[in-house]
Amino acid sequence: MIWQLDLAILTLVIVCAIAAISVKDLLGTAILFGAYSFMMCLLWSIMAAVDVAFTEASVGAGVSTVFFVAAVFRTTRRTKD
């Protein structure tokens, strides 16, 4: 554990989370959600959970975002909140 980095990244994570749910555009949400996953991946590796970080990197940063974009592509970007 590296608490200095941990604290910094945790803050970023929360910023990302709030941004992701408050952006009024679903594609923006998808992209910010990807950023959220990056941060999480960093957080896991900071806490020495390498396997979790690996999974998060491959799932969160990779396929999950692509799925999300694909779904937005097939539905709509419009959102009221």
Partner: protein, 95 residues
């Protein structure tokens, strides 16, 4: 040397804040994409630095590599959206 890496890491975090600002503030979605892509490239470096801090860099390199690959896919996917859909802004509510 370790504390140097730690500070470098913290500085990278600070730089991520800058990129994140672009990601959060927009104004357009592609701007967000730029911001997030920039975060991605810093993350790769940060991962390797964390490996150094743990003295187990060989374990972290794999993650970084995978990360670099998959980040590419995500950006490709997101940009692909615009290549298909014409509008940058939201399409009209109903057809």
């Amino acid at each position: 040397m370790h504390s140097l890496f730690l500070y470098v890491g913290l500085y990278l975090c600070f730089l991520m804040v800058l990129s994140l600002y672009r990601g959060v503030a927009g104004p357009t979605v592609v701007d967000r994409l730029i911001g997030v892509n920039a975060i991605g490239s810093k993350t790769v470096v940060l991962l390797v630095l964390i490996g150094l801090l743990y003295d187990r860099i060989d374990m972290f390199v794999d993650i970084a590599l995978a990360y670099a690959m998959l980040n590419f896919i995500a950006v490709l996917g997101a940009s692909r959206y615009f290549q298909k859909r014409k509008g940058l802004y939201e399409e009209p509510p109903y057809k």
